[in-house]
């Protein structure tokens, strides 16, 4: 009880101070501690996300920006377990908790308790709906739409498209697909003639595309969700059909294939996805909130786009089997915040 009132006091004081000095002289956060609550670490994206957090956190602590930036991952990736973890983090006295949530709603009780105790809560990627928390969301719909818009610039005459979707029933899959269909509706020179589920995995995508290809007319472009472009390319090659314009998703194997094709026949495309380093963006947003900056509750993550010009550079910095990444800086976070104001 005593701690909670104390924390609320400190937080409101910090907020008042920030409000008064808005912008120019933000409060010092050198004694603040930020924790990352993560629910899952079982794929390359999450591993890269945790690694970005650790590298950037260690640097921030060494520079005296914050006192601690610790990462916690639940062992069974379940919502109740993460709720307990968040409650533990409140008890451990962290000033801010950055969350990649197992469920958008099941953590709301714990998040509310954190807010009531004066803890700043920032959710990203897997966001929470509790109004007191900040959300750094991914506009998956815009991502799907921008794929079609890119195709429209490259293929002004239009043609038939093949859509590779993700894992059925997952919110992200619905959003990206809705964006793609919206893009196609606006660019009516394109028509989606086939749609398969590739589950964001190269082997599944390859099998699915190989299965549908014989029934399809000529395909000029493939719109994807990431993690499926290389598999699609292999299926086209195996069927002996010309390689269409495949939009890629920043995976290392996709970029390697792209580079090989470019060197062989001048292949040109676009690759886009969300960088796992978004965890570092969430860190800086939490730091800015702690420093007293007025940050809007809803922020949007920029996509990481890889073009013909940046391919070599990105490929060189991406470990084999991983995914292209960037570590966001304080300036990037401020830019995102300013953009949302």
């Amino acid at each position: 009880m005593k701690i909670s009132t104390m924390l609320i006091g400190v937080a409101s004081l910090a907020l008042c101070a920030g409000g008064a000095l808005a912008g120019s002289h933000l409060a010092n956060t050198a004694d603040k501690r930020i924790a990352l609550s993560n629910n899952y670490a079982g794929n390359s994206w999450r591993q890269a996300m945790l690694q970005s957090w650790e590298e950037m956190g260690a640097a921030a602590v060494a520079d005296g920006v914050v006192a601690a930036a610790d990462a916690y991952t639940t062992s069974e990736s379940q919502a109740t377990e993460q709720a307990a973890q968040i409650q533990n983090l409140i008890l451990q006295g962290y000033d801010a908790i950055v969350i990649n949530a197992a469920s958008p709603t099941a953590l709301n009780g714990a998040v509310k308790e954190a807010c009531d105790a004066g803890v700043v809560v920032v959710s990203f990627d897997g966001i929470v709906t509790e109004p007191c928390a900040w959300r750094i969301a991914v506009d998956f719909k815009a991502m799907g739409k921008s794929e079609v818009e890119y195709l429209a610039t490259r293929l002004p005459d239009g043609g038939n498209l093949l859509e590779i979707r993700g894992l059925a029933g997952v919110f992200v899959d619905d959003e990206i697909s809705a964006g793609i269909h919206e893009g196609v509706a606006e660019n009516d020179q394109f028509e989606i003639v086939g749609s398969v589920h590739g589950d964001w995995a190269q082997d599944v995508a390859q099998k699915a595309v190989a299965g549908i290809l014989p029934s399809l007319p000529e395909i000029v472009g493939v719109v994807t969700q990431g993690g499926d472009g290389y598999g699609a390319a292999q299926a086209f090659k195996a069927a002996g059909r010309p390689t269409p314009l495949i939009v890629l998703g920043n995976r290392q194997d996709e970029m390697q294939w792209w580079a090989d094709q470019r060197d062989a026949n001048g292949y040109e495309t676009l690759s886009l996805s969300i960088a796992p380093g978004v965890s570092t963006l969430a860190f800086w947003v939490a730091q800015q909130v702690l420093a007293g900056d007025e940050v809007p509750k809803d922020l949007t993550v920029p996509f990481l786009k890889i073009t013909q010009d940046t391919l070599d550079e990105t490929l060189a910095s991406t470990p084999e089997g991983s995914v292209a990444n960037v570590t966001y800086s304080l300036e990037d976070a401020q830019q995102v915040i300013a953009g949302a104001k």
């Binding site: 916690y72 109740t80 377990e81 409650q87 451990q92 958008p104």
Partner: protein
């Protein structure tokens, strides 16, 4: 036997006290009204689920569908009970009756409970997904108020745990019904010869399990404020571990409601303690298992000594 029954409750208490002392030493902030509540409030639904599992283990069966069942209850609570309370309540009562029917069926057809409940877990899971395909819903206000109430002297989590322990102790250990139910686990044949209908008793035990499962799901929604179809899947194994940790045995109708509540609290605390230790998540499941084995080993040593004297 006398020493044995005494040791049965001493051991869970000692494990909880030791773990609690270690947690307070690691994290002095936890030693407050606010801290204790944060530490234990998610243990309340686990304790209720443990009670449900105990009813089943008491009659020599095991329930692998409990986690899915609690998830389903949570989904109903966060949707129907909120929008149309009468319909929601009717659904929850129907679920309790379904549990009782499941118990009767297991007995009448002499089916292995482990298979039937495993199968039912998919049925519950399917219904839960049907009701709440994507995470959402909201907690009824009265339920949220009940789970966040701040009683004087001790936090809600502690008061609720004591209440659950006392009520189930009276029900299972003191009441006539409880004694016969434990008798079903101890020696089914002699209970049947004494003129009881084992079919009705098993249905009763399963019905009680369903009742506590419903309470667990409702308590969970009161804490999380919303539900999803997978919210309580880990309760299946947690509840079994809680019963055993609290001094229960898989066969023979030997269960201890007070011990099982303490077992549930200990399991919750163990997870928090390991998190305070900053142990890597890769090791946490293993460490949790190690704590379980440690307590069970201690129990074996004690019970051997108890048998010698």
């Amino acid at each position: 036997m006398n020493t044995l029954s005494r040791y049965r409750i001493i051991l869970p208490v000692v494990s909880l006290v030791v773990l609690l002392a270690a947690t307070f030493w690691m994290q002095p902030r936890a030693m407050s009204y606010f801290g204790l509540n944060l530490l234990f409030n998610l243990a309340v639904p686990i304790a209720l689920a443990t009670m449900a599992q105990m009813m089943i283990i008491m009659v020599n069966d095991i329930d692998l569908s409990l986690g899915a069942f609690v998830s389903l209850v949570a989904c109903i609570t966060a949707t129907y009970l909120l929008d149309t309370p009468v319909l929601g309540l009717a659904m929850l009562v129907a679920l309790i009756l379904a549990y009782a029917a499941m118990g009767a069926m297991i007995h009448a057809l002499e089916l292995p409970a482990i298979v039937v409940t495993l199968g039912m877990s998919f049925v519950w899971g399917g219904f839960a997904l049907f009701i709440l395909p994507s995470p959402g819903g909201a907690s009824p206000d009265w339920l949220r108020a009940l789970m966040t109430v701040k009683p004087p002297f001790a936090p809600m989590a502690v008061v609720a745990s004591i209440l659950i322990a006392v009520v189930t102790h009276l029900l299972i250990i003191r009441s006539a019904l409880g004694t016969v139910l434990r008798g079903v686990g101890g020696n089914t044949r002699s209970v049947a010869r004494a003129g009881w209908s084992v079919l009705k008793l098993k249905a009763c035990a399963y019905g009680l399990a369903g009742f506590f499962g419903v309470l667990a799901g409702m308590a969970l929604v009161g804490l999380t404020t919303s539900a999803d179809a997978n919210i309580a899947l880990r309760y299946t194994l947690l509840s079994i571990a809680g019963v055993i940790l609290g001094g229960g045995e898989f066969v023979g109708g030997k269960v201890s409601p007070v011990g099982a509540v303490i077992g549930a609290l200990t399991l919750t605390l163990a997870a928090s303690f390991l998190s305070f230790l900053r142990l890597s998540p890769d090791w946490q499941i293993g460490a949790q298992g190690a704590i379980l084995i440690l307590v069970l080993t201690a129990r074996l040593i004690f019970s051997r000594k108890g048998a010698e004297t």
